[in-house]
Amino acid sequence: MSNVPPDLQYTKTHEWVRTLADGIVEVGITDHAQHALGDLVFVEVPEGGRTVAVGDPCAVVESVKAASDVYSPVAGEVTGGNPQLAAEPEVVNSDPYGAGWLMRVRPAQGAALPGLLSAAQYTELLASEE
């Protein structure tokens, strides 16, 4: 059973969103996604200053087998990508909701983040995909 922390928001494409204290949001891929991808060997994250729209490919995660795009769950300006992942992509596998975050974004429209799923809704989505 995949780990789905209750305090995060999710997308249908298996990203998660955490709202930090200063209104910036942190984005990563879910435990389900990292498990499905398998051992990650290369992660490309966006640089600070880039503007992203909802659904934009914003990062790439590559397992031994294949490359997969990560889509931005929010619109805004990227404040930075996770610098640790260049040398240690496997952190996304071992700690997808913590040290394995991919990017931080300052949302364009303040705190309102439309279209995201709650933990309960995402859990339901996973159940329906099995």
């Binding site: 051992d39 490309e44 397992s63 031994v64 087998k65 294949a66």
Partner: protein
């Protein structure tokens, strides 16, 4: 639902992720593709390769038949059990398949062909066998296991009776023999020592469990692919197919052009290519920038010309990305590869990248 090997239920029980491979439901990985890869380089791993097609060819003219059918020369096979790697070509010189042929007796040779090409291979073999009076029998009653890694032969030998174990351990590289009702060959597709074992389908799951219990790691097709690419071995359908000939596929070493009067199928076409020289070649690439090479990425040659990656991956042993690429014959040491719109630097290197656990390419940066 695809075709299933005799080990399908065991794979599921072991928690394998199952994928379609050439029409077969096969395990791509059990736990971690990286761990499975490293197990084969460092200790031993076991693969289900029962999807491959074992074909027995029998008849007094079987050797002459295969000297016509195959681009390598089974005339080289003199000692019982000796194996030979060969391409089977179309008249055009395009590769129908690559295969291993085992010399069992003067009237009995065995070939092992790829799963994805089984039907067309069998049709092709049968169509040419009649003229030589050769009987073609698919051995669907056999399962095939590959046990590979530095500890593989020792691990398999412990499952055999004492005299059988001794016989198996005495097998030289690229030889096989019958041992206690199994056909055991010292061959493989990983660049490590080990055995490929053809045995009655009903015995395979029991052997697998015993080897697991002794510490041999279950390995999927994912690890098999990274291991073979590191070992510099071609994959049919990726690195060569009916539209490419062996000369532009890194397989010139498998062509037996002597004696000149052995007119194997495809020889005429290859002789015209040889007369002009191949326009393209298959090379190894080592990515010098960060990223992962994948099949079908475009390769740019400095000074003009383009090529294409045929197989690419992250190499778990090198911790760098490696590939095979088909490029113009004039390509030198430096190329660039287009990965998502960025041109990254790669160096042309001579495969294999890894053999017997040792890195064989220079990983230091050159400028």
């Amino acid at each position: 639902m695809g075709r299933r090997t005799p080990l399908f239920e065991l794979h599921r029980e072991l928690g394998a992720r199952i994928v379609d491979f050439g029409g077969w439901d096969m395990p791509v990985q059990y736990t971690s593709q990286l761990n499975e890869h490293h197990a084969v380089r460092r200790t031993a791993g076991i693969f289900d390769v029962s999807h491959m097609c074992v074909v027995d060819l029998k008849g007094v003219k079987v050797r002459a038949f295969l000297q016509k059918l195959l681009a390598n020369d089974v005339g080289k096979l003199r000692l019982p059990g000796k194996a030979l790697y060969s391409c089977m070509l179309k008249e055009s010189g395009g590769v129908l398949d690559d295969l291993i042929v085992y010399f069992l007796t003067e009237s009995w040779l065995r070939v092992v062909v790829n799963a994805g090409t089984r039907d067309k291979d069998l049709a092709w073999i049968r169509a040419h066998a009649d003229a030589f009076g050769v009987a073609v029998t698919e051995r669907a009653d056999l399962a095939m296991l590959a046990v590979q890694g530095p500890q593989a032969r020792e691990q398999v030998s412990r499952l055999l009776r004492r005299d059988g174990a001794q016989a198996a351990l005495e097998l030289k590289t690229f030889f096989g023999r019958e041992v206690d009702g199994w056909f055991i060959a010292r061959t493989g597709y990983t660049g490590e020592d080990g055995f490929e074992i053809m045995l009655p389908a009903g015995e395979a799951a029991g052997v697998w469990r015993k080897l697991n219990a002794a510490g041999v790691v279950s390995c999927g097709l994912g690890a098999r692919d990274t291991l073979r690419l590191e070992a510099g071995m071609n994959l049919y359908g990726n690195d060569m197919d009916e539209s490419t000939d062996p000369l532009e596929s890194g397989l010139a070493w498998t062509l037996a052009l002597e004696p000149p009067d052995r007119r194997f199928i495809g020889r005429d076409a290859l002789e015209s290519v040889l007369a002009q020289g191949s326009a393209r070649k298959l090379v190894g690439l080592l990515l010098e920038d960060r990223g992962v090479l994948r099949s079908h990425q475009k390769v740019s040659i400095p000074g003009g010309g383009t090529g294409e990656i045929t197989s690419g991956t992250f190499s778990p042993t090198l911790e760098r990305s490696i590939a095979f690429a088909r490029v113009p014959a004039t390509t030198g040491e430096r190329v660039q590869v287009d990965i998502r719109g960025k041109l990254l630097n790669a160096r042309v290197v001579k495969p294999p990248f890894v053999r017997f656990g040792k890195v064989l390419v220079d990983l230091s940066e050159k400028s």
